[in-house]
Amino acid sequence: MSAAMNRALPLLAAPVAFFAAFFAVPMIVVVSSSLMAGGVPSLGNYARVLFDQYHWDVLAATFRIAGLTTVACALLGYPLAYYLVRVVKSRALRRTCVILLVLPLFTSNIVRSFGWMVLLGRNGLVNDALVGVGILDRPMRFLGTELGIVIGLVYILLPFIVLAVGNALAAVDPALEDASSDLGATPFDTFRTVTFPLCLPGLMSGIVMVFTLAVSAYVTPALLSGGKITVFPMLIFQQYSTVFDVNYGGALSITLLVMTLVLVGLAGWIGNAGASATGRKAQ
């Protein structure tokens, strides 16, 4: 055993033992119980999950909501990040905005979703404003619709994109952009060929983060769905909290986990391919 190993072992013993006992083993227990039905090894639980149209409908709704949320977060978050990093000159103003961005992140999902329950209600501020301005004739239903859930999730996850893109932007040397415009590029061309490709890794990591959190969100959909829409994490919660079917619940958990990891892997792969493609073009 090498000297480095000898030094690492005493440092790692406690954290590794802890993660093995309270993270790895519990996850293995879920996997193994998902592979048991009626006391014997079986793939029946997975068959029950995968051959039932209802589960596919729920999965489709979950991924549709998460996809819309991610797109909206990117479209709204990118301009704000650009504005805060490149346009705002006052340090105090930027600092205040950063604090206001982090404040929701430090507040529970439940508190933030609750705010939207109030705002999106039939007599809430949003409906009052939309009717008052004349965009709507009469109040519209938000609670219990996918739109309502998306509004709540975008609000909760937006800061992640703004911070990821903003930190990537802040690391881009403005001299590169100046060089581009000195060489005659229009501001839009500079953005398209210099700034955007350089921030792409930041944007991609923000997108992956938002998408995984949106797929696995439970609290926000539970509160804003009004019992009318079901997303996948709700199915898992039902199985463990009211039905107590750990075999079937385990299969649901593992299905969500695998789908999430596959999509994260896919997004990372597309991001890398995209970044290297634009990188090649830039050279």
Binding site: R7, P15, A24, M27, I99, G115, Y155, P159, A170
Partner: protein, 262 residues
């Protein structure tokens, strides 16, 4: 020019969208009406009084605070040695170990909560403080690693070696050289860890009971039945704690987000 203006309008609308819900909660906690009204009608602190008079809210605040404090302390005690080993030593499976320790960041918390419920039930710890605690330590440790690891640089390493060469024992080097140098990473890691535990619902909900519950879980269970200004008052307190944590973070370590000096 038009693009600039458009950017400004979009940015400020997004900022407004981010601030509005919290403003509504804090505002409506002062309403004199018995239902939630925003803008508040009248001004009263009754709902805060009602909250203080209800022992179950104070108990939940107590559980949440204790849980977050103990979990943060444990995450530091486990996370800092792990970060040192990962930054300083070469060993097989290092990359795998780091991804394992960081994976609770992307793993659905509902899945982990369900796993811990089943596992702790088998151990006879179902719905106990211990069951809550171990789950919280697992999900907040990545924040400690993420803040401490970047500070364990080769330059910082050289100072540790100098200290050892001058005859300091390993423990002396750790407390007198290493610890002061990674102070800001420890502080921001600890604050992020504390807050992540303090606001968690998705993991806690599996292992809480009616008697032993955290404040976010209590709010979650309550909001599903009724919405009243007491909930707004309790929520406002948690927003206050969040604001306090951010101000502490900004004053001690500095929120070096979105700026080039990091």
């Amino acid at each position: 020019m038009i693009a600039r203006l458009l950017l400004r309008v979009v940015s400020w609308s997004v900022m407004a969208y981010l601030i509005l819900p919290l403003l509504v909660i804090v505002g409506s906690s002062f309403t004199a009406t018995s239902y939630l009204a925003f803008p508040p009608q009248g001004l009263t602190l009754d709902w805060y009084g009602r909250m203080l008079g209800d022992g179950s809210y104070l108990a939940a605040f107590g559980t949440s605070t204790l849980l977050a404090l103990v979990a943060t302390a444990a995450a530091l005690l486990l996370g800092v040695p792990a970060a040192l080993a990962i930054a300083r030593c070469e060993f097989p499976g290092k990359k795998f170990l780091l991804s394992l320790l960081m994976s609770p960041l992307v793993l659905p918390h509902v899945v982990l909560g369900a796993a811990l419920l089943q596992y702790c039930a088998a151990l006879g710890l179902m719905r106990s403080f211990t069951a809550l605690l171990v789950g919280h330590i697992v999900i907040i440790m990545p924040f400690v690693l993420r803040s401490v690891l970047p500070q364990l640089t080769p330059e910082q390493r050289a100072l540790e070696e100098a200290s050892a060469d001058l005859g300091a024992r390993p423990m002396e080097t750790f407390f007198l050289v290493t610890l002061p140098q990674i102070r800001s990473g420890l502080a921001s890691g600890a604050i992020f860890a504390f807050i992540s535990s303090w606001i968690n619902v998705e993991l806690s909900i599996f292992n809480t009971t009616a008697e032993m519950t955290t404040i976010p879980v209590k709010l979650f269970n309550y909001v599903q039945y009724t919405i009243d200004p007491v909930i707004a008052a309790v929520s406002s307190i948690t927003i206050g704690v969040a604001a306090l944590a951010i101000i502490i973070l900004d004053l001690t370590v500095g929120l070096h987000l979105l700026s080039d000096r990091r």
